[in-house]
């Protein structure tokens, strides 16, 4: 059973303020119980991955971005981005 504390821990990890913890407890628990069917699978199947040869990676070239991107972002104090401090 997913607990209230667990939901709060998850919400802290992804930084979302949630008020109605109970609502999420019930909903998340229901889905997790559904996911539990996965746990019954015993498979040694190798995990699939996409491959790319080293030769085909991006060559190391400096190409400056064609416009002043900072002007399209929330900027302040000239060309800075303002952020709240982590305390």
């Amino acid at each position: 059973m997913v607990t209230k504390e667990e939901i709060q821990r998850l919400a802290n990890l992804i930084k979302i303020e949630i008020n109605e913890t109970e609502k999420y407890v019930e909903q998340v628990d229901k889905v997790i119980r559904y996911f539990d069917t996965l746990d019954k699978i015993s498979s040694t199947e190798e995990i699939f991955s996409q491959d790319l040869a080293l030769e085909n990676l991006r060559p190391d070239e400096h190409i400056p971005y064609k416009e002043k991107l900072i002007e399209k972002l929330k900027n302040s104090k000239g060309t800075f981005v303002k952020a709240p401090k982590l305390i």
């Binding site: 990890l13 790319l52 080293l54 991006r58 900072i70 060309t79 800075f80 981005v81 952020a83 401090k85």
Partner: protein
Amino acid sequence: MTKIGLEIHCQLTKLKSKLFCSCKADYRGFEPNINICPICVGLPGSLPLLNKKAVEKAAMIAMRLGCKVPPKIGFFRKNYFYPDLPKNFQITQYNVHGPTSIGSEGQILIEDKMIRISRIQIEEDPGRLIYEGDPSKSLTTFVDYNRSGTPLVEIVTEPDFTTPKQVRTFVNILSDLLDNLGVSDTSLEGALRVDANVSIDKGEKVEIKNIGSFRNLEKAIHFELIRQESLAERGMPIPSETRQWDEGRKITISARTKEEEQDYRYFPESDVPHVLIKDQLLEKLKENMPESIISKRERYVEKYGIPNQVAEVLSTDKFYSDLFEKAHNENNAKEIANLITTDLMGLADTKEKRDQLKLKPQHLSDLADAILNNKITRISAKTAIHEIAKTGKPLSEITSELDLGRVDDESSLLNIIDEVFAEEKQAVEDAKQNIETVNYLVGKVMKKTKGKANPSVTLEIIKKKLK
């Protein structure tokens, strides 16, 4: 037993572009947020484009540190929120589900101790935070993303060090090695950053972060060991924690005020496909790797008969060995080694001096040839190097400007020697009694010629006159 392990972050400053985009890898000297693009500020819809050279350079580091390089490497996301992290996850490598980082299980001999390298991984650097005003009063910080996405290689050692001194030796050797490989200029501010984890017998592992310079590294570890030992003596527990090095007070302080749980939720970054590194490619890379410091030193000693100590100095510093390699030939190698390690040393011992140095390899080979052909004395050569370093003028010009050409002809030397004999009557008598003291007279002649006199001709003339 004291156990110290290191996590070293090295920026690949020799690359032209960032790890996942085409912005400049060397972010230094830009106005804030100018060296950015949608990828390195994590705009919605942007996708990482892995830099081929970054993988190659990291593979070179791995090979040089004796690591295994797997045939296939993969990237993971490390998820955490931080003001300088634009995507709020870092693309890095992770070996918990099998070795997919660029290197693992390496080792390197430091003096007579083998230090094991547990893994080497490629990752991106976050942006930089700039604080203004009184930090205790202001809640805001300013972010500069110019550094965001700079290619980093993280080198993680096993806890094989037992003293702070070993750590310093290792870091010195490692930074020489990285410079020599041509992957990084470790003298740049922030190019090489070291975190240490320290534990003693009776305690948990303590991580020390934020150690600015290498000099502080030794101090920080030393402080931490004393702190832990004094806790242990008083029977107090040493909890596992992260501590920051406080540069001002020269102590480590606990970093987390609030007990915040870390759970990075690593999982594969599928926007970057697994990279296949074929054996042949790795072999080719290995062949083209710059010669190692050890191999250089041995070659200098064996091929050119350069004394071991001189060869040591020359090979460990890439700046010197590059100069040497470009300047020398079979005949003048030994002389050039001498010039670099004795006369040039004081002129190029800091980054600033190196940046301003006007001396080119051609100067060194001209100078060495002039010495070998008796056109200039060693003493004059020293004067010439100083002048070249400042002006960059060709040797011939400097020789005539400063009148450094060697005085070889007997008649002009004879005149000067006559003067010296007249001024130094007692010394002449002494020398007649005891030929060993003749060097005093030779020295006087040198002084009068400002070091230009041919010493062997001078000696011969004096000896003749004494008879």
